[in-house]
Subunit: 235 residues, 2 copies
């Protein structure tokens, strides 16, 4: 592994929200035992049901954590970016992976043995607190996933666009410009539907004057309507 890559690993570990109160020495210890792998887009990083003896920290790229249904469609629990933990819950609970993880882009991840998590907690008690906070937030995020699933497809799309407007929205003369961030077919899967239905949902929001479709960018004309649709209050 190159020195540059080793630096990236340390940076990613340093940024991981599971233990942001840890000392630099502790991070170094983690970095020393990390196994770094780089894989192309689409690679399976973890499979639901497999025994979980390691967990990972994303160094670069974006991974999608999801459940695969029997009919082949999937439900996204979360997407993880650089510095984010992979399969940490399984490591903590000590069972099997509760979800699948795929590389949504080319990905490099630092894998760590689950024992190193426990050693870290023992060595630095403050880490337990940050870990509890992270887990509590993750529970809250999952309740949000559940609420999303209860919406119809236009509602889920609106919720996604609303959140993305806050995250990467760009004010222009015409209105708020938001890129989808991924091909429409991938977004469809991520919203738990299929491209055909997503296409119709976009068409509906367009017909209602809420947005304009410019290829893979959206021009949001009525952010309030997005927020309303995305929270389940249709009219």
């Amino acid at each position: 592994m190159s020195d540059a890559q080793r630096d990236d690993v340390r940076t990613a570990l340093r940024a991981c929200r599971l233990w942001h109160t840890a000392s630099d020495e502790a991070i170094d210890r983690l970095a020393a035992v990390a196994t770094v792998t780089s894989v192309p887009r689409g690679t399976t990083l973890a499979t639901e049901g497999d025994p979980a003896d390691t967990f990972g920290v994303m160094v670069a790229g974006r991974a999608r954590v999801f459940h695969l249904q029997a009919d082949g469609r999937s439900i996204t629990y979360e997407t993880v970016d650089s510095g984010g933990p992979l399969a940490a819950v399984a490591a903590l609970a000590g069972g099997r992976y509760p979800a699948n993880i795929d590389a949504a882009t080319p990905v490099t991840v630092a894998w760590l043995p689950r024992e190193s998590l426990f050693e870290l907690m023992a060595a630095e008690p403050s880490v337990s607190r940050t870990m509890i906070a992270d887990l509590a937030n993750r529970v809250i995020n999952l309740t949000s996933v559940v609420q999303t699933l209860a919406l119809d497809v236009p509602g889920r799309l609106a919720r996604y666009l609303f959140q993305r407007s806050l995250a990467v929205g760009e004010a222009t003369a015409e209105g708020l410009r938001v890129s989808l961030g991924m091909p429409k077919s991938e977004l469809a899967a991520s919203l738990g539907t299929v491209p055909e239905t997503l296409s119709r949902a976009l068409g509906r929001l367009r017909d209602e004057g809420i947005l304009e479709v410019r290829g893979n960018d959206m021009l949001i004309l009525d952010v309030g309507a997005l927020a309303r649709l995305g929270s389940g209050y249709e009219e």
Copy 2:
């Protein structure tokens, strides 16, 4: 508060899985600051969106933690029995309640200020570990809720009956006898549907020879079929 009730409170606190490694002295300290209330069935114990400054431990009864959709239907995240924590995640994350909680039966609950949770963690570091384990398990439970929602109604019903067979199933000469544990209308709500659809789902399982309906008791004839339907592999 009577002495008997005070004993119940201590017993419930002692049994709470958030801190089962805590010392008896720590439990006594919690009991000393607990505010105990008893409420009839149907009472609202917490409302989604309200600021969370206290959390509770169930002393007696059963509570339902759920999200209320705009159309009035609800989705159950979990049900909590005696010894179980209420709204602990909100207390840990420090925000607002992410869900509603109702008393499914007459309920008595010991309310605690969220600070006492942090004091407990500070005083007894081992508690952090049990709390982390509990939170990790809760995350896994929520992924299971998501998977359940992805099933059709007969699938959700089958999953419920299968789990309930394991929990309270009673072998008889005719087959495995399982009580529903609640009125059908309540079960319908708990499965995220309405009584009419639940009734049809039960009828379908009956027609397929998987079970017999005896009022509020089910006679399970094919547990394997329940497990299969409940995991999403229809045929």
